[in-house]
Every structure is written in structure tokens, then in C-alpha cells.
Amino acid sequence: MGKTLRETIKEIIKNHLKNKKGKVFGQCLTAVGWVGGTLPELYEKDGMIELSMADVASGGIVTGSALMNEKPIYVIRYQGFNWYNAPMIVNYAAKSKEIWNAPCPVFVRGIGMEGGIGPVAGSSHHSLYYRMPGLKIVSPMTPNEYKKIYNSFMKDDEVYYVSEHRGSFNNKIELKNDIKGKKDFVIIAISITRFEAIKAKELLEKKGFKIGIINILWIKPFKISKASLKCIINSKFGGIILDDDYVDGISNSIANKLNHLTNKKIFTMGLSNKSAGFHKKVDNLPPDTKQIVKKVISIIKN
């Protein structure tokens, strides 16, 4: 069996530090857990840099490091912290190449998770970066995807926001699109929702619906193959975008794009428009299989 995504990230980081002489910045990296086991056990002398708890300043420190062509990796342990970490990444690192022709590439590892952890630590917050120019947003959920993204970053000179999810760290499987044949409906999934999408498809197909699956790795610039677009165009009822961020952001924007490109109705499903509490009853989780199935059936039936 191949490696898990966790092991893959760890290997990439080790190579970045040892062979590429790069740096990894973040808070509490070398404490227990090593960020979900995705970091090698290395320290400042190896380029693993512990930042202070000054979150906003630290985003600037990493930006300054990137200005020196070091291609730093910036670990943000929970995506919600980006409210404080992102300001100088989006306002300086992402703009520096355009304004001053001075590339400032940072590989931001924003890590999502959810379930009983409240409104800050919970869910993905990639939409926060979405409206700003000069950066790329990706959400790799498999080992090969992650390798591809890292290699692309190393050849590139732009800021990458890499929206990770702890729920995918054990994954070893490459997730494939299913766009063959005429579909009734197409599920277009981002981040951790890609795993629920597969389960929802199975259940819906048991009920007699033909369901297509499109995995979104490149959110910005939005990349979708011609064959995938064709699958949506040829579908009977259009499609739905799944996300584990609020829908007012990436999902609604992509839906709008796809509406225009395919002339089909594209729906969206993500977090509810409320803050997550800690108790199960008041949590705010990404759409699960049951909810997806229910929503798809209601779209098809109406």
C-alpha cells in the first residue's frame, strides 16, 4: 500500500528543509503532535522556525522571509486563525510581484478540521483569501495531489494558500472524477466534502440516479477540464458545489462561473450561515452524506 497524505506531507517538508534549504514557520510546531504528524521532528537549526504568538506580526515575518527568495512554508494550525495571520500575506506577499516585480512566494498550509471545536478552530476558511488577487488557492486531499501542488509551487513565484483538512491526513487513495456517460446530476466537491460526495453518490445511485463526481483541486485559478464541463452540460439537472466553508465566497462564485459556462443550474451547499458552537446540537459541520442525498433528491424532484 502507498503512503498516507500525512506521511507524504511529512516527507515533502523534510525534503524542503534538508535538501532545498527552505524554512518552515509556525506556532507550536515542535510541541506534542507535530501538527497532526505532518512535520518531521526537526528544529530551528534545521529551518523549523517557532514563531511567537504575535499572529499578525508573524504573517509579516514570513512575508519578509519570502521576499528573500526562501520559499517559506507557513503552517497555520487552524484555518480560522487566518483572520490574524493573513493580513500581510494577502496585502504584501500576494501583491509584491505585481506592484514591484519582486516575487514573494509563500506556501501557506491552512489546516481545517471540525466537530465540537467551536467557531474559530472549526472548518475551512479558504474563502477569506479568495477575493484577493495575486495568490493561488488549492485544496489537495490525496498524496499525489499534494506532491503536484508542492512541485508547482517550487517552480512558481506566487503565494499558494493550501487548504488542508485533518480528516484527509489518513487518506491513501487518489480520488477520481466520474464524468463518463450521461448523468442526472453532478456533485462538484471541494476539500473534505469530497469524501462525503463519494458516499452520497453511492446512495443516490442505489436509488436509481446517475451521479457524476468532479473533484476540485484548483480553486483559484479555478481549473476544470473540458470533459468535466461537458458532463455538467449533458446532465439532466445540473450540479451542486460542496464546500466546508460558508457558501458566500468560493462556492457561490464558482457556481456563478459554472452557470455561465454550462447553462445549467448549479447549486451550492456548505456551512450554515451561523457560528459553530461546541455542543453537537449547535455545531456547524460541512454537508454530510444524508444531507447531500436529501438536497440532491429535492433538486431533482423539483
Binding site: 524554512k23 522556525i49 514563531l51 511567537s52 504575535a54 499578525v56 506580526a57 508573524s58 504573517g59 509579516g60 515575518i61 514570513v62 512575508t63 519578509g64 522571509s65 519570502a66 521576499l67 528573500m68 526562501e70 517559506p72 493580513p87 500581510m88 496585502n91 504584501y92 501583491k95 509584491s96 505585481e98 506592484i99 514591484w100 516585480n101 519582486a102
Partner: protein, 280 residues
């Protein structure tokens, strides 16, 4: 302080002063159509530091400044023509192809990095650049941007990492027009000391600034330099006619030689601006 050195510093300051006087004039005449942040009155800070660092120490530092940075750019050797072009809107000739304006000057030649317009961000960014490159780094900030929370966080980290970095607070006592005493009851040099780095308060006389040369880039240090802004926060105008003018003061102390320099720059810089105006 040796007179020759003081004259050398005056020469840089004179270049800056005449640059700013012309910028003032053409802004008033609406030939400069973008917001400008004039550094007249504060030019002895950059002129002294550039002379000490570039000419005496033979160091070419990484430079991080904020919006009021014409004097920094000119003192550290930035090309005057490119800045005139930038301000007059000749975007082809400007260093940043019109993207930088007055507030976000960038020059690869002198290692001066652009500013993004959020005051104080140059401090953490400069700290990060210094940490990674280990190159001598100078970071300018205003007395107001020094108050930014992220500036304080970055100072603490720079002190912890013992970086070869020099923080300069250009303290004109103003945040636009709000005085320091309205905003805070603490001093930046005390803050620096509490972060366990060297921190001093001084005025912008070259003979004061040079006293600290021995500490430059050996370890992190912050100099809070009290100075005076001659003109409005932005654009051409005066808040008061009572402002102490270090330039006139130095000219008086240095006498004939300084007068000659002043005259020379008065005419050469005027000509440079006029030549650019013809190209528009």
C-alpha cells in the same frame, strides 16, 4: 563631529530638501496628481544614517520604509529621475511603472523594498527579511505606526532572535494631526528596552545620530529620533510657520560651504524637474 562629515550629510539633506520643495510646488500646481507625503524637515535622519551606513561603514543594508520615504530613497542612493517620473505620472520611467506612487517606493538598486500602504507592516516584513538573509537591515517607521500591535510583536521577535537590525522611529509627534500625547503615555525607546534591545531617544541632529554608530547592526537597536514635519501630512501645505527647521539650522552652523551646496542643488534639481515636465 568632523566638519567634512557634517557637510557630506548636509549635501544629502540638501538634495532631499530641494527635491521636496519642487514636489511641493508641482503638487500645488496640480502637475503632480497623486497623493504625496513630503519628508521635508525630517531629511537629516536619512541623510545622516545613509552617510554613516553607506559611506563610513560601507554597508548596503536592506531598507524598509513607509509612506514618507522620499528622503530615505534619495539619501541611500535612489535615482532622482525615476522618482520625479513616478510623481509626475510618467509611468514608463518610474521604478514601479506607476504602481508605487509617492508612498510605495521600491528600488532594487539600493535594496529598498516597497511599502503596502498599511502603516507599520514594514516592521515585521523587515524583521522576516533580516532573519532569513541575516543581512544588515534598517527599518523606518513613524511614531504612529510604531503603535501598531504587529510592530510591537515584531520588535519582540527581532530582540529574541538578536538580529542585525536597526529600527528608526521618525518621531514627528504626529499621526496625521493627532499628537502623541493624545494617543499614548509610553515611549518607544522604553518599549525597546523592555524587549531587551538597545533603545534610545535623541533628536535629528547628525552629531547626535552618529553617536550610536558603534551599535549599528551588531545587535537589534531602536532609535526614537525626534524630528519635525515641515508640511502637511499629505500634499502641499503648511500646518504652521513656527516649526523648527533642522535644515536652516545646519546651514547656518555650517556657513558659506553649506550655502554653496544649497544654491547648487536649488538650481540642479529645479532643472531636473523642469526637464521631466517637458517630457510629459
Amino acid at each position: 563631529m568632523h566638519k567634512k562629515l557634517r557637510i557630506k550629510i548636509f549635501e544629502k539633506a540638501s538634495l532631499c530638501r530641494h527635491f521636496e520643495t519642487n514636489a511641493y510646488k508641482f503638487s500645488e500646481k496640480k502637475l503632480i496628481k497623486i497623493p504625496i507625503y513630503l519628508s521635508a524637515g525630517q531629511e537629516f535622519i536619512s541623510a545622516s544614517l545613509a552617510t554613516i551606513i553607506n559611506d563610513i561603514c560601507k554597508i548596503k543594508p536592506l531598507i524598509f520604509a513607509q509612506h514618507r520615504c522620499h528622503s530615505t530613497y534619495l539619501s541611500f542612493g535612489g535615482k532622482i529621475d525615476n522618482l520625479i517620473a513616478e510623481l509626475l505620472g510618467n509611468y514608463k520611467l518610474s521604478n514601479t511603472k506607476g504602481m508605487g506612487g509617492s508612498a510605495s517606493i521600491y528600488s532594487k538598486k539600493i535594496n529598498m523594498f516597497g511599502h503596502d500602504g498599511h502603516m507599520g507592516t514594514q516592521v515585521p516584513i523587515g524583521v522576516g527579511a533580516c532573519f532569513t538573509s541575516k543581512k544588515p537591515t534598517i527599518v523606518f517607521m513613524g511614531d504612529a505606526s510604531a503603535e501598531e500591535d504587529y510592530v510591537l510583536g515584531a520588535l519582540g521577535w527581532a530582540a529574541t532572535k538578536k538580529l542585525p537590525i536597526l529600527f528608526i522611529v521618525e518621531d514627528n509627534n504626529l499621526s496625521i494631526l493627532t499628537e502623541k500625547k493624545v494617543r499614548r503615555n509610553w515611549n518607544m525607546h522604553d518599549v525597546a528596552k523592555s524587549f531587551k534591545m538597545k533603545g534610545y531617544e535623541l533628536n535629528d541632529s547628525p552629531s547626535e545620530i552618529i553617536k550610536y554608530q558603534k551599535f549599528f547592526f551588531k545587535e537589534p537597536m531602536l532609535l526614537n529620533i525626534n524630528t519635525n514635519r515641515m508640511f502637511w501630512h499629505s500634499g502641499a501645505g503648511k500646518d504652521s510657520d513656527q516649526i523648527f527647521d533642522r535644515y536652516l539650522n545646519e546651514k547656518k552652523i555650517l556657513g558659506k560651504e553649506a550655502e554653496k551646496i544649497d544654491k547648487k542643488f536649488n538650481s540642479t534639481i529645479k532643472k531636473k524637474w523642469e526637464k521631466h515636465l517637458e517630457k510629459l
